[in-house]
């Protein structure tokens, strides 16, 4: 059994990863404000957790201008997708095995 991933397991980061994981691999990113409304987070809270996930190499943050307005888009990296899948498998193993 693999161990717990402390970077991912924090409640808000787990929700961020779950939202990004729902997008098709390699194809999709999500806009910061939409992600914020999906998760019910604040700007500062979401920004801080995204930074942690980016430092871990689990997500990529892209800043660009659309219609002269700054836009921040977030995408899950292949490493992030693997780490998330492993963490979910770990959580399932805990339930199945009753292990703590």
């Amino acid at each position: 059994m693999s161990g717990s991933n402390d970077v991912i397991h924090q409640a808000m980061r787990l929700r961020i990863m779950a939202a990004l994981n729902a997008l098709a691999p390699g194809a999709a990113s999500i806009e910061f404000t939409r992600l914020k409304s999906l998760l019910g987070a604040t700007d500062g809270n979401l920004g801080a957790h995204l930074e942690t996930l980016e430092k871990a190499g689990y997500i990529a943050i892209e800043k660009r201008f659309t219609d002269r307005k700054p836009q921040t888009r977030v995408r899950m990296s292949p490493a992030g997708r693997r780490a998330f899948a492993e963490h979910v498998a770990y959580l399932r193993e805990i339930i199945e095995g009753g292990q703590t």
Partner: protein, 189 residues
């Protein structure tokens, strides 16, 4: 960090909930284009039927065929990026069957039954489809379909000589406003 089975179960539930809401938000955004396309096509159908009554039957048939083709094309374009599931295609085919059913009966019954009833029949069928979709897709679709159906029933009973205009505004308006609302609450890629 030590995680017990209760916490693990809560985390998995949280993940499932966020994934479900994310997919629904993408579905809303994708559906919005389909709603707006149908709204514009329906408005064109009413305009042609009003200005060229002799071409009404063929124009409505064309509107239905173009709408179905556009719906399938929009979904097919989005499918590779989103991982379109079997359920989504079932919903599309259900809508196509419903529209084909309505078009067929409207074509057959058009010359026989009173004008207000035939003008209300197809729009109300479309609203029924939106209500049924709402059972799977969320209460927004339920409310949209029910409000549209109520306005159609009201128009059939009360609009008199304004019947065509009423149905055009209600049906295409419901679809376009609904589509724009879905775009607002949905998530773009």
């Amino acid at each position: 960090m030590s995680i017990d089975s209760r916490e693990a179960a809560a985390s998995l539930n949280d993940i499932a909930d966020v994934e479900r809401r994310t997919r629904r938000a993408f579905f809303y955004f994708g559906s919005s284009t389909i709603f707006v396309v149908w709204g514009v096509l329906v408005a064109c159908g009413y305009a042609i039927a009003e200005w060229y009554p002799r071409s009404a039957q063929i124009s409505w048939l064309t509107v239905s065929l173009v709408g179905c083709a556009a719906t399938v094309a929009i979904i097919a374009l989005r499918a590779p990026a989103r991982g379109f599931g079997t359920r989504d295609w079932r919903l599309v085919w259900a809508a196509v069957v419903l529209i084909a059913y309505g078009t067929g009966w409207a074509y057959v019954l058009g010359p026989i039954i009173p004008r207000p009833m035939i003008y209300a029949f197809e729009p109300s069928l479309m609203m029924l489809g939106i209500v049924l979709a709402g059972l799977w897709l969320g209460r927004f679709f339920l409310i949209l379909g029910l409000v549209g159906a109520a306005l159609i029933a009201l128009g059939m009973l009360q609009s008199g000589s304004w019947l065509t205009l009423w149905m055009a505004v209600v049906q295409s308006g419901t679809l376009i406003v609904g589509g724009l609302w879905l775009r607002k609450i949905g998530v773009a890629r």
